[in-house]
């Protein structure tokens, strides 16, 4: 027996390698070998899976005496790490259990421990996989059917708990439901009465659930051509169908069937009582979802038929594709290869299924599971591997998404346009543009023309203006972006009469001759402040300047920022260099929020045709703390920016600003924690008498206190930012709704769609942050006296976690 353990692990064939030996392999670590043997069973092999499993089971049986814990641990990690091979491992466990009853028992015990741990720590995905594995263990005669059923009963009992969020009971019900395709038949045969009772409890729960959150998560507002169902509703419909088909399905691999003779003689274990840990405020449960559907069987031209949306096969295949993406998301090439070697690829229209699942993830609300670029690059990889078929499916999908764009959620339209621009940039911008030319005659605010325009804008970022002009047909002229350029008003005709022109030109030559910031400041000193001189000027009144000293100097800001951006207009880096060199002056000029808004306004004057430049400049200004996040938000909501308000870049800036703010808070939080840890560690050392003078700097209580103050200030700033954004949203939307009511016109204009769904987007994209302020928002802003259409968005959002 001892020789067997020295088998090299790189043999393809486990069954035979168990009897092979190679010289010089004595040193191979046996534990590593075991791991390799176990993790690789079920991969492509020259001999049948059955014989490999049989062989491996005998090898493991022999090693159990010495390596039991190790083997158990490896098997348990396979449960959560290699779920695509679940049936292989349940069969293996079944075979081991048949050979060695105790070992089966210990494995189940260990798995139960892991399940309890996952539930306690909130690793719900792992917990789901373990539940499913336990269910499949019933099929392999490892676990008594009745005891699994009582675990299910315990899970379903969560639905009876009082004062818990629905997401909690949802998850427990989902965990049971998602295991049913594997084990339902067995339960039905062995415990029919109890099983039916369980099913009717689930049915009851499903019919009573609140579904306020659904509208917030839908990709399309329309149910045509495919209903967009809540995930539990959909899965339940699929399971009811499965039941109608006498619990038989065609998708699940069941290698244990071949071992029925061996397995049915094995003794089974009874699961211990598993009671879900009780709810506490800290636990966050998985968010609900809406199932995304874009294809049905009529969309697939030929070959295998696409399973219907309520057939369990659809769910199982989607799950499996989802799994492959999850395992390989960091490596697009491996991921593409893994997807295309899908086990039952000849029985399903694989390309359509892959494309649908990938778009469902890309469009997932609130946020996609992985980076958006992952989906884009993976689709390209898939096109490369299947140039004869994948591009067609993708083109068909694009065409369908475009056709259905009118009812598409704004967030999804944005992701769709980003993806499409990226995809085109990898395919020489070739597309049958002429098919879309009707959009050129539409109201440019409607989704179709807006989408095309934004695609071209994004595509231009990935190439250049001239290329866009050459790419699309002439009829698209109205949608082609303006050529990006900088505007410098002080050099234009008629500039002579403007108050700042002279100083602007002095400034140019001063900066060109490399003046110091101080010298530049001296030049600016000569400029009069229009706010104190011309109180009557209405432009400045708008900004709410009271009598007394003006809080900022618009002319100085205007002249200096115009000149600076003009001189740095060659590139991003030139602009950055300009900002860096004159950082101090910029900070001085824009020391109030009004000043900062004026600065941003001036930037817009210079770069309004270059969206990407504005995006990076605002980012830079925030990073260098020349402007504050709240100033950016107020600027974007200001009346000057109203014509830009539905353009996507405005929202790119808005979200980037929010993200920047939260990063800053996170960093300060981290700093405080680190400093506290250091201090604690130092104190402990001191107490132990190990104080070392040469140690790194120990923060004092004083320093920590100051850090905490800074953190608190940043947290307040963050809260204020959200309040400003929501308040401005409410103002602008209430205004619109009131106007429409006054003029008795339909409020549901294209503008309204863009704006209300942007409000929704703020909630969703930053849901983790916004949830912290939910009570403040409820009592301060989203009160019952605001318009229902606005309030509804807030309520849908709250329902996400309730």
């Amino acid at each position: 027996m001892s020789r067997r353990r020295r088998d090299s692990s790189d043999e393809e064939d486990v069954g035979h390698s168990a009897r092979k030996r190679r010289r010089g392999s004595e040193n191979i670590d046996i534990e590593e070998r075991l791991e390799s043997l176990i993790t690789r069973v079920g991969e492509k092999s020259t001999s049948s899976l059955e014989s490999n499993l049989e062989g491996l089971a005998s090898v493991l049986e022999a090693d159990l005496a010495n390596y039991k814990t190790k083997i158990m641990r490896i098997l348990c990690s396979c449960v959560v790490k290699l779920p695509e091979k679940m049936a292989v491992y349940t069969t293996l466990v079944g075979l081991l259990n048949a050979k060695n009853y105790n070992c089966g028992g210990e494995f189940v015990e260990m798995l139960i421990r892991n399940l309890k741990e996952s539930l306690k720590t909130g690793e719900y995905d792992n917990a789901k996989l373990i539940v499913r594995f336990l269910a499949d263990c019933v099929n392999c005669h490892v676990i008594v059917a009745g005891s699994l059923l009582s675990m299910f009963d315990n899970f379903i009992e969560v639905t009876l708990e009082d004062n818990i969020p629905q997401v909690r009971s949802d998850w427990y019900v989902y965990a049971v439901m998602s295991a049913l395709p594997w084990v339902a038949k067995e339960l039905h045969e062995k415990k029919e009465a109890e099983f039916n009772k369980l099913l009717s409890t689930i049915d009851n729960y499903i019919s009573k659930r609140q579904k306020i959150h659904v509208p917030a998560l839908r990709v399309w507002t329309s149910d045509f051509p495919h209903p967009q169902e809540e995930y539990l509703d959909c899965l339940w419909a699929q399971i009811k169908n499965l039941r109608a088909n006498k619990w038989s399905e065609k998708q699940i691999v069941r290698p244990y069937l071949a071992f029925d003779g061996v397995l049915c003689e094995a003794l089974q274990h009874t699961l211990p009582q598993i009671i879900p840990p009780s709810h506490n405020e800290e636990t966050t449960y998985p968010l609900p979802r809406v199932v995304f559907r874009m294809f049905d069987y009529t969309d697939v031209p030929e070959g295998p038929v696409l399973p219907g949306s309520h057939s369990i096969e659809r769910y199982l295949i989607e799950e499996q594709i989802d799994r492959i993406l999850r395992t390989n998301f960091a490596e697009r090439k491996d991921c593409a290869a893994a997807l295309l070697s899908f086990p039952s690829k000849n029985k399903i229209p694989l390309n359509y299924m892959i494309v649908e699942v990938m778009f469902s993830q890309l469009f997932l609300l609130p946020v996609p599971p992985y980076l958006e670029i992952f989906y884009g690059s993976l689709l390209i990889e898939l096109c490369k591997l299947q140039p004869g078929s994948m591009p067609q499916v993708l083109a068909q999908a694009t065409e369908m998404l475009y056709e259905r764009i009118d009812t598409m959620n704004v967030t999804c339209i944005e992701r769709f346009s980003n993806w499409f621009a990226y995809h085109l940039s990898n395919f020489q911008f070739r597309w049958s543009w002429d098919d879309w030319s009707t959009c050129c005659q539409m109201d440019p605010e409607l989704p179709k023309p807006k989408f095309v325009k934004e695609v071209l804008l994004k595509a231009m970022r990935l190439s250049y203006h001239q290329r866009m002009v050459e790419t699309v047909p002439e009829s698209f002229e109205a949608l082609i972006p303006e050529k990006p350029h900088s505007e410098f008003k002080y050099e234009k005709e008629g500039a002579g009469s403007m108050p700042g022109t002279m100083v602007a030109h002095q400034l140019i030559s001063a900066i060109k001759s490399k003046c110091t910031p101080e010298e530049a400041m001296v030049l600016l000193k000569d400029l009069p402040n229009p706010l104190s001189e011309e109180e009557s000027d209405p432009t400045y009144h708008v900004l709410g300047i009271d009598e007394g000293d003006p809080t900022y100097h618009p002319l100085r800001i205007d002249v200096f920022v115009s000149v600076l951006l003009h001189l740095g207009n060659k590139s991003f880096s030139h602009s950055f260099a300009a900002i860096a060199k004159f950082h101090h002056i910029l900070k001085l000029l824009a020391d109030t929020e009004e000043g900062q808004i004026w600065l941003l306004r001036t930037m817009f004057e210079v770069w309004s045709s270059h969206q990407q430049m504005m995006v990076v400049l605002v980012d830079k200004l925030l990073k260098t703390q020349i402007v504050e996040p709240s100033a950016v938000a107020n600027w974007l909501f200001s009346s000057e920016m109203q014509p830009e308000f539905t353009k996507f870049y405005v929202w790119e800036i808005m979200h980037a600003t929010i993200r920047k703010m939260s990063k800053q808070v996170d960093k300060l939080q981290q700093d405080v924690e680190d400093a506290k840890d250091k201090l604690d560690a130092a104190k402990r050392k001191q107490a132990d008498g190990l104080m070392d003078d040469e140690d790194e700097e120990i923060p004092t209580d004083d320093i920590i206190e100051r850090m905490e103050e800074r953190l608190e200030a940043a947290q307040n700033q963050q809260k204020r930012l959200f309040l400003i954004i929501f308040q401005r949203f409410i103002m602008i939307l209430t205004d619109h709704l009131a106007k429409c009511e006054g003029n008795s016109i339909d409020y549901n204009t294209p503008w309204y769609k863009w704006v209300i769904e942007r409000l929704q987007q703020i909630f969703l994209l930053h849901h983790e942050l916004v949830f912290r302020y939910i009570s403040t928002l409820e009592s301060l802003l989203f009160t019952s006296d605001i318009d229902f259409h606005i309030l509804e968005i807030f309520q849908q959002f709250c329902a996400l976690r309730s």
């Binding site: 020789r3 009897r19 030996r21 005998s58 390209i380 096109c383 490369k384 140039p387 004869g388 078929s389 994948m390 591009p391 067609q392 993708l394 083109a395 990898n426 395919f427 020489q428 070739r430 597309w431 049958s432 098919d435 250049y464 001239q466 290329r467 050459e470 900066i511 060109k512 490399k514 001189l567 740095g568 060659k570 030139h574 260099a577 300009a578 860096a580 060199k581």
Partner: protein, 264 residues
Amino acid sequence: MVYVNFPQNLTEEELILKQKYATLKKKKKALQAIRTAKPERVQAEAAPAKRPAAESAEDAKEQAKKLLKSGSIKIKDPEKTPTAVGFQPFSAAHAEEEEKDGNKTSQRPRMRGLYDSFVSGGYDREREERREERAQQERRDRDYDLPKKGNTIYVNGLGITEEILRKAFSNIGTILNINMERDKHVGFVSFERMESADTAIAEVNGAMVEGIQLKVTMARRQPSFDQNNDQSTKSWSSIAASNSQKSSYKDKREIVSYDAEDIF
């Protein structure tokens, strides 16, 4: 243990034999892989070509039926049609000849003229129709051997360069990509449209470009595309299939130059 226990110590000899067996097994597998891979590829290429062809044949039949009904065509002895070929010794010989020499199909029109002058009578039109059909069938059959549709051509010529190829083919159609194997004097040109590849073969094969005689044929290994698709996805397919990242797109922008002065 239920299993047969092999003696656990192998002799030197046994070990060597085993190794040999393993390598042989590997080679066999590799061979099998090559063998099975090839026909798959050909099939894949031929499959899409087959469909439209079959359709057109059916169409032709339909059209012929319509014409018959309308009376513009008359088949003199419908009873004999199925055996007509068998009765005609000449045509049988011809068909055989054609089967042997596939190249002649391209010279069909001229041959028909010749044939017309030799044979007169009621059957020849019909016979010719059958022959035409056979030739078509034959052409179709040969399609299985070499890809007859594709957007990539193979060009061979002593000392060819990418520039020469670009010059030679850019006026035929939009070039997506050119791949060179300079040491073998071989290049592969991918066009946006398959028709361009056909034109290129018809026009440039055998021609002299920059003093180099070019041999142009369809590239052997290239992916097949569904030809019924629209322009955009067809080019997505071709681009996806080409290994090269560079595009043949000509950047028409003017170079923007700045003064070297660095003010910041």
